[in-house]
C-alpha cells in the first residue's frame, strides 16, 4: 500500500521545494535585475521614471521574465499546500478550493505587473508620460492586490484550526500564524490612496510589512508542509 | 472534573476581587494620564511619563486580565520583553524630535 503511494508524496515534496526556489528566482528578478526592490518612488516625475526604464531596459525585461516563469513554478507549490488542506478538512473540499482560487487570483496581478514593466521598457523612444503610466499601473498591480493573499492565508488558517485529530496535519500555531500574516497583508490594498508615506506602494507598512509577512508565511508553511509530507512518506499505512 | 477549576486553583483565590482592583487601577491611571496630557502641551518629560504609564497599563492588562501571571515563564518573559522593548523604542523615537 505505502509502496504505491510514496511516489506521489515525493512529487508533492519536490513541488514544495520548488515553491521556495521560485520565490528565490522572483527575488533575483526584482532586485539585482530590475532594481525594483524597494519599489520605485511613486512621487518620481515622468522624466525620472522614463530615464530609469531607458537605462535599465534589459534588466527590467529579463527580470520580468524571471518573475513570469517563477510565478508559474509557484502554482504546483500551492497545489501541494492545497492537498494538505484537503487532508485536514476531509471530506469537505471548501477551503481547498478557496486556497487554489485565491492563489491564482493573487499571482495573476504579479504576471500583469511584469508585463507592464516589460512593455514600459520595450520602446525607449516612447513618451515619458506613457512610460510613467505603465510604471504606475505595474506597481499598483504589484503591491495593490493584497486582499486575495489575505483570503488565501485565511483559507489555510481555518482548516488548520478546525483540524481536531490527535496528530494534526499542521501544528495549531501555524494556523494562528496564518491569521496573523493574513491581517498584515491587508494594508497593501490602500496604495492607490497615497503618493508617498508609509501606505504608498513603497511604504513601510503597505510594502515592507506585507513583504516580511509574506516571507514569514512562505517559510513557515513550507516547513509545515515538509513535516507533514515526511510523516506521510514514512508512515506504515496511509 | 472541571479543567477550569484547576485554573481557578492556580490563579489564587478571589479572582473577581483581583480583576476589579486591576480595573480600578487602570481607570485611575487613564484619568491621571488624561489630566497630565492636557497640561503637558510643551513638557516632554510629562509626555514621556504618559507613554510609560500607557505601557504599564498594557502590562497590567497582559499579566492580570490575560492571565500571563500563571503562564509558563517563557511566554511571560516574551510579553514583558515586548513591553520593555517597545516602550524604550517609542520613547527613543519621541525624544528624536527637537523640542517645540
Amino acid at each position: 500500500m505505502s509502496g504505491e503511494s510514496r511516489p506521489h508524496y515525493a512529487a508533492e515534496l519536490v513541488c514544495a521545494w520548488m515553491g521556495l526556489a521560485a520565490m528565490g528566482v522572483i527575488f533575483v528578478g526584482i532586485w539585482p535585475l530590475m532594481h525594483f526592490f524597494p519599489p520605485l518612488d511613486p512621487a518620481l516625475t515622468a522624466r525620472e521614471v522614463a530615464a530609469i526604464y531607458r537605462s535599465n531596459a534589459t534588466g527590467i525585461i529579463v527580470g520580468g521574465m524571471c518573475m513570469l516563469g517563477a510565478s508559474s513554478m509557484l502554482m504546483p507549490f500551492y497545489c501541494a499546500l492545497a492537498l494538505q488542506v484537503a487532508r485536514m478538512e476531509a471530506p469537505s473540499k471548501l477551503w481547498t478550493y478557496s486556497l487554489l482560487t485565491t492563489s491564482v487570483m493573487g499571482f495573476v496581478p504579479l504576471i500583469i505587473a511584469e508585463m507592464l514593466f516589460s512593455t514600459a521598457a520595450y520602446r525607449p523612444d516612447r513618451s515619458d508620460e506613457i512610460i510613467r503610466v505603465l510604471n504606475d499601473f505595474g506597481f499598483i498591480m504589484f503591491v495593490g492586490p493584497s486582499l486575495p493573499g489575505t483570503v488565501q492565508m485565511l483559507s489555510v488558517a481555518i482548516p488548520v484550526l478546525a483540524d481536531r485529530r490527535a496528530q494534526p496535519v499542521f501544528p495549531r500555531w501555524v494556523g494562528y500564524l496564518n491569521v496573523w500574516t493574513a491581517i498584515l497583508a491587508t494594508p497593501g490594498c490602500l496604495v492607490t490612496l497615497f503618493l508617498h508615506g508609509p501606505f504608498a506602494w513603497n511604504g513601510a507598512i503597505s510594502f515592507w510589512v506585507a513583504f516580511i509577512a509574506f516571507g514569514i508565511w512562505m517559510m513557515v508553511n513550507f516547513w509545515a508542509m515538509r513535516g507533514a509530507l515526511l510523516r506521510q512518506i514514512s508512515a506504515p499505512s496511509d | 472534573m472541571n479543567p477550569m477549576m484547576r485554573c481557578a486553583e492556580a490563579l489564587g483565590f478571589r479572582p473577581r476581587l483581583r480583576v476589579t482592583v486591576v480595573w480600578m487601577l487602570l481607570i485611575l491611571a487613564t484619568l491621571l494620564s488624561w489630566d497630565s496630557a492636557r497640561h503637558s502641551a510643551t513638557h516632554r518629560l510629562l509626555a514621556s511619563a504618559v507613554l510609560v504609564i500607557a505601557f504599564v497599563k498594557a502590562r497590567l492588562i497582559g499579566v492580570e486580565f490575560m492571565e500571563l501571571r500563571v503562564a509558563p515563564i517563557a511566554l511571560r518573559a516574551a510579553f514583558e520583553l515586548w513591553a520593555i522593548g517597545a516602550c524604550a523604542v517609542l520613547l527613543a523615537l519621541y525624544w528624536l524630535h527637537p523640542a517645540l
Binding site: 494562528y176 491581517i183 | 472541571n2 484547576r6 496630557a37 504609564i53 490575560m66
Partner: protein
C-alpha cells in the same frame, strides 16, 4: 482524577492555547512597528503633528478607553464566572462586553463623522493619514473581537459547553484583552503624547 489543591498552584497554564500567543504577540509586534513608524514620521515634522493633534476629539478617545477597559473587566469576570459554573452570570457579562464593543464602534463612527464634517479626511495631512489608518486597523480588530465574544456567548449558552470550553473561553477573552491593550497604547500615542 484531576489534581486539586496545593500541587495545582505550582503548575503553570497557558491561557487559551499556545498557538494563539503567536497571533497575540505577533499583533503586539505589528502594532508596535506601526507606532514606531508613526513616531519616526512625527519626529520629522513635529509642528504639523502637534497642530493636527489638537483637532482630534480627545474626549472621544478618553470615552473609548474607559469603555474598552470596562469591557475587559466584564470579560475577565465572565471567565471567572465560567470557572465557578454560574452560567447566567457568564451570559450577562459577555452581553455587557459586546454592548461595550458596539458602543465603541458607534462612538468611532461619530468621531470620524465629526472629523469628516470638518473637512478632515484621510489625505488632509500625514498626521490624519496615520489617525484614520491606525484607528481603522484597530477597529477591524474590534469587529473581529465582537464576533469572538459572540461565539463565546453562543458556546456558553449550550446546556453542555463541550470539551475544550475552558481553553476557548480563555483564548477568546485573551483576544478581547488584546483589543483593549492595543487601544490603550493607541490612545496614548495618538491622543495624549504631545
Amino acid at each position: 482524577m484531576d489534581a486539586a489543591g496545593p500541587a495545582a498552584r505550582t503548575r503553570t497554564h497557558v491561557p487559551g492555547e499556545p498557538g494563539l500567543w503567536v497571533l497575540i504577540l505577533g499583533d503586539l509586534l505589528a502594532f508596535s512597528a506601526f507606532f514606531g513608524v508613526f513616531m519616526y514620521h512625527r519626529a520629522q515634522r513635529p509642528a504639523l503633528y502637534a497642530a493636527s493633534q489638537t483637532m482630534l476629539g480627545a474626549a472621544f478617545g478618553l470615552f473609548n478607553t474607559l469603555l474598552l477597559l470596562t469591557s475587559s473587566w466584564f470579560v475577565a469576570l465572565a471567565v471567572a464566572a465560567a470557572r465557578s459554573g454560574t452560567r447566567p452570570r457568564v451570559l450577562r457579562l459577555l452581553l455587557a462586553a459586546i454592548g461595550c464593543g458596539a458602543a465603541f464602534v458607534a462612538s468611532k463612527a461619530l468621531e470620524w463623522g465629526s472629523r469628516i464634517a470638518q473637512g478632515i479626511t484621510l489625505n488632509t495631512d500625514e498626521f490624519f493619514t496615520f489617525y484614520y489608518m491606525l484607528t481603522g486597523f484597530h477597529l477591524v480588530h474590534v469587529l473581529i473581537g465582537i464576533a469572538v465574544l459572540g461565539y463565546l456567548f453562543n458556546r456558553s449558552r449550550r446546556p453542555e459547553p463541550g470539551p475544550g470550553y475552558a481553553a476557548v473561553m480563555e483564548g477568546g477573552a485573551a483576544f478581547w484583552h488584546l483589543v483593549d491593550l492595543l487601544w490603550v497604547l493607541l490612545f496614548a500615542v495618538l491622543y495624549l503624547v504631545k
